[in-house]
Amino acid sequence: MMDLLWTQAVFWALVGIALLVIGLYALIVHAHLLRKVLALNIMSSGVFVLFIALARRAPREAAGGADAPAQVVPAPPDPVPQAMVLTGIVVAVAATGLLLALIVRLRSVAGRTTLDNRADD
């Protein structure tokens, strides 16, 4: 049973890493700033998924008794990573809002939506 929970944790953690890597690739390859914002958001989603997925490996004893049937009840997930990811989501939306405002301003001042620089991130 423990193995199944663990497998699910690892499975979603790998999905999170995949999201992170996909986002990083797009962040580097694309020039349009809006696309970079999307990429950053997907990257942060990846980190959040990893963070929460690994919390699925909660300790058995949190579920209750020591006998076998009680052990297989999935324990309530660790609340601390959840609180941290909630914080992270709010930070991410704040970053998105600020970035988009700067991008709109850049567009209206300079008429471009790229960093216009081959050395950009």
Binding site: T87, L102, R105, D120
Partner: protein
């Protein structure tokens, strides 16, 4: 678990005073400048109080919310964090006075500079105080947002592009850091630095290597170590001058401080990683100095000089492997001296821009006789950047050189010396042009005396730092044994 009131009042003040000031400035934008200046002076005074408290009573610990380490968040004000906070306060007060004059006629910039700058200050102090990995992530984001918004105050295309790039890099760096924190949490079951350090030994190696890599990569990106420095010159070169001073003097140091703190207290870092950081640091010194030499715009020159100076800080990593703390003291000395000197340089550059309308220094028309204080400030700051005695930069480089020679690391020693020579070349390039008449007669605009004096006082501070070695030594004694063991014992007693 409960605090004693003496120390906490100061720790509370250094975070909550700038926060309160920022909130007030935002609420009444018309009164932003006097309110902001008042909050800045009060914050600096509180920092001074905290420094004295730490020197007198040792490390100040606060359990926020009264919850002990694994569950709650700890503040820890030790010598290292207090040294950085004191530098922040010194630079902060000078820049605040400067900015009061600099933004006097620009209403929008004035209304938004103050809340953003005070929030940046609050975030920096919160970062220097925090002993909790996840809380540090939030403070890192605060610092990044504030710094990028301040950069955008420049308003033109270059500043906005610089700010966008800066913010993206900052968010990316924080994300990498957060990834590392997530791995640490899941391997050690805590985000408290000291507790995590004690549990890292039992944690699986692969996870710890990945966490170390992610945390260090994110912080290197934020610290702009070569070759991750690409975002720094456009941002620091195009922001308004007081903002550039804050970015180069303080914001870069915040991520370096965090890297150093984690390296000393938690990550411990392997030999190869230290050597790699040393090589990158050496490359940064050479590359940054060479590019600084090629610049024709003063602020870009100063920004590339920052790229080079960041390199010195990382040369200490391989030098500290032998186990003595002299290299760390040297790096910290350099960080503090660079903070004061670089802020003075950017502030002088701002005065020169006000005077001439641009910062192509070869075309400025005889600034020396007309702005003697500003040019004196620039030259004195240059003395510290070059590392000539008796400046703070000299002491820092000398400590690095001493430990390099003692270990027979002649390559690193050569880089330190060569960096000094190159710095002399680019500083004198600017100063040389300052005596000559420009291509056109230029009347030059008046520069407020506050702007000239605040730059000069900072530069004098950078020089005096070199004379204050005996005074500062107790603050700058860092090493794994000085901070780690004591706090581990304390947390054991608390938990």
């Amino acid at each position: 678990m409960r605090w004693d009131p003496g120390g906490l009042d100061w720790t509370l003040a250094v975070v909550f005073l700038p926060l309160a000031g920022a909130l007030l400035c935002f609420l009444v934008p018309r009164r932003a400048a006097p309110v902001g200046l008042g909050a800045a002076v009060l914050t600096a005074a509180a920092t001074f109080g905290l420094t004295l408290a730490v020197l007198a009573d040792g490390v100040q610990r606060t359990a926020l919310g009264g919850w002990a380490a694994p569950l709650g968040i700890l503040w820890r004000a030790d010598e290292l964090s207090v040294a950085l906070m004191a530098m922040t306060a010194t630079v902060g007060v000078a820049v605040s006075f400067y900015a009061g004059a600099y933004f006097r006629d620009e209403h929008t910039e004035r209304a938004f500079f103050w809340p953003l700058w005070l929030l940046l200050w609050m975030a920096l102090n919160a970062l220097f105080l925090s002993a909790d990995l996840f809380n540090l992530y939030v403070t890192l984001e605060l610092v990044g947002f504030a710094a990028a918004s301040l950069t955008a105050l420049g308003g033109n295309a270059a500043a906005l592009a610089g700010a966008v790039r800066y913010l993206m890099v900052s968010v990316l760096g924080s994300l990498s850091y957060l990834l590392g924190v997530a791995l640490v949490y899941h391997a050690c079951g805590t985000v408290d630095i000291t507790l995590a350090a004690t549990r890292m030994g039992d944690a699986p190696g692969a996870a710890m290597h990945a966490a170390t890599g992610a945390i260090i990569a994110g912080l290197l990106l934020k610290t702009a170590l070569f070759p991750l420095h690409f975002w720094l010159p456009p941002a620091h070169g195009s922001a308004p001058a007081p903002v550039s001073a804050l970015l180069s003097a303080l914001v870069i140091k915040a991520s370096f401080y965090l890297l150093l703190r984690l390296w000393l207290d938690m990550l411990g870092g392997g030999r190869w990683l230290a050597e790699l950081l040393g090589v990158l640091g050496a490359a940064a010194v050479i590359w940054g100095s060479l590019l600084a030499l090629r610049q024709t715009r003063l602020k870009l020159l100063i920004a590339y000089s920052t790229v080079a100076q960041v390199g010195y800080l990382f040369i200490a990593f391989p030098l500290s492997l032998a186990g003595n703390g002299a290299a760390w003291t040297g790096a910290l000395y350099l960080a503090l001296a660079h903070g004061l000197a670089k802020a003075a340089m950017f502030l002088s550059a701002g005065s020169l821009i006000r005077f001439g309308g641009h910062d192509r220094f070869a075309e400025l028309d005889r600034p020396v006789p007309r702005l003697p204080l500003t040019l004196t400030a620039f030259t004195l700051a240059g003395v510290s950047i070059m590392g000539l005695p008796p400046s703070g930069g000299f002491i820092g480089k000398w400590l690095l050189l001493e430990s390099a020679f003692r270990q027979g690391r002649y390559g690193l020693a050569a880089v330190v010396l060569l960096g000094g020579v190159l710095a002399a070349a680019y500083v004198f390039k600017v100063v040389g042009h300052a005596f000559t008449p420009g291509p056109r007669e230029h009347r030059g605009l008046r520069v407020p005396a506050v702007m000239e004096w605040s730059a000069l006082l900072l530069a004098v501070g950078a020089i005096l730092l070199g004379l204050g070695l005996p005074l500062l030594r107790p603050l700058l004694q860092v090493g794994p044994e000085s901070s780690g063991a004591g706090s581990a014992a304390a947390v054991g007693a608390w938990g």
